[in-house]
Amino acid sequence: MIYSSVFQSSGQHLGFTREDGYIFSRDAAYLGWLEEGFAWDTEGQFRGQVFDINGNRYILRNTYSVSPIPRTPKPAPPIPQVPAPLPAIPPIQLKIGFKDGF
């Protein structure tokens, strides 16, 4: 399985998205899943959208828009062997209204 890193706007390494859509924290905890670039948490609540900024990936949410209808939660997959966590990167300045999804 291919894992891609996701960061928080603070620069902290949030975790990984897996090629099958699942999202895991940097220590392999199940956070949710991606569908067509949109992120949903373990409860099925909308958490944001994947953005590519300066070559790094972030899950960000526009808090000024209406929330989509929650999805049916997906059962947690088996705990995976995720790659080693990455060091923090420089923080980014988010536009007004945007915040980290996780």
């Binding site: 209406v66 209808i69 049916t72």
Partner: protein, 242 residues
């Protein structure tokens, strides 16, 4: 149309929807209305989702009757139910071109614990899209729990949408309280978590959500319908959605 006339016109077409668990106890409540054709009730998916038993009752009925889940559309929070009564008229859809921000709207359903058809008036305050591209109507009106599944209509009683939620700002602190186990905070033996959760549940910000009626899935029964009728697009001249 005068609102009293409108209510009289739609009264026999808007039902109270109850869901029961396997033990026959009420597990949920919402509203629904006959749409597209007789014997088909539209409601919200979250009202009937995962419920083994669905009962409906129209205002002129004394007892509940059975309804069967036909179609669910989780993405738009819609569901179609089938029930055995072809004497009731279905509500008609409004012309999509007339649906504009600022439109006077009426919605009628069974909010809170009420079993009486209850009508509200308001304004279609915004037509917006969620981040996934789904069109959402915002209503300036008193939408409460139980209103889910009730018809959002223009002043002629034509359906423009399906009411599906009341607006509540999500916040990290409120979410923490919502997810907190009852009994976690108490004062002189009073469970404060329960009180907070009840307050959060009952907050009324005066903004409701509705799904455009163009998202209502069409149910095709060749024996009854003949040719299939597709729902109109939610926007002029283009296909919308995800």
């Amino acid at each position: 149309m005068d609102c009293a006339i409108l209510v009289e016109k739609i009264r026999r077409s808007v039902a109270l929807v109850l869901t029961l668990n396997e033990k026959g106890k009420v597990s949920g409540k919402g509203s629904g209305f006959i749409f597209w054709k007789r014997g088909i009730l539209v409601t919200c998916n979250h009202v009937v989702e995962a419920s083994p038993i669905i009962k409906i009752k129209f205002p002129d009925q004394e007892v509940f009757s059975d309804a069967k889940l036909l179609i669910t559309d989780k993405e738009h929070d819609l569901a179609l139910l089938k029930f055995d009564d072809n004497t009731r008229e279905y509500l008609k859809a409004a012309d999509i071109k007339t649906v504009k921000e600022g439109l006077e709207v009426v919605f009628a359903g069974y909010p809170l614990t009420l079993f009486d058809l209850t009508t509200h008036q308001g304004t279609l305050s915004a037509i917006t899209k969620d981040p996934t591209g789904i069109i959402t109507y915002l209503i300036d009106g008193t939408v409460n729990g139980g209103n889910s599944g009730c018809p959002l209509m223009n002043s002629s009683g034509e359906v423009i949408g399906v009411v599906n939620a009341k607006r509540r700002e999500r916040s990290d602190i409120l979410t923490q309280v919502e997810e907190m186990g009852t009994g976690a905070i108490s004062l002189y033996g009073v469970d404060l978590v329960k009180i907070y959760q009840a307050l959060i549940e009952n907050v009324q910000l005066g903004i409701g959500y509705a799904v455009p009626c163009s998202y209502i899935p069409a149910h095709h029964d060749p024996e009854i319908d003949g040719e299939r009728k597709e729902p109109p697009s939610p926007v002029d001249g283009s296909k919308e959605g995800k």
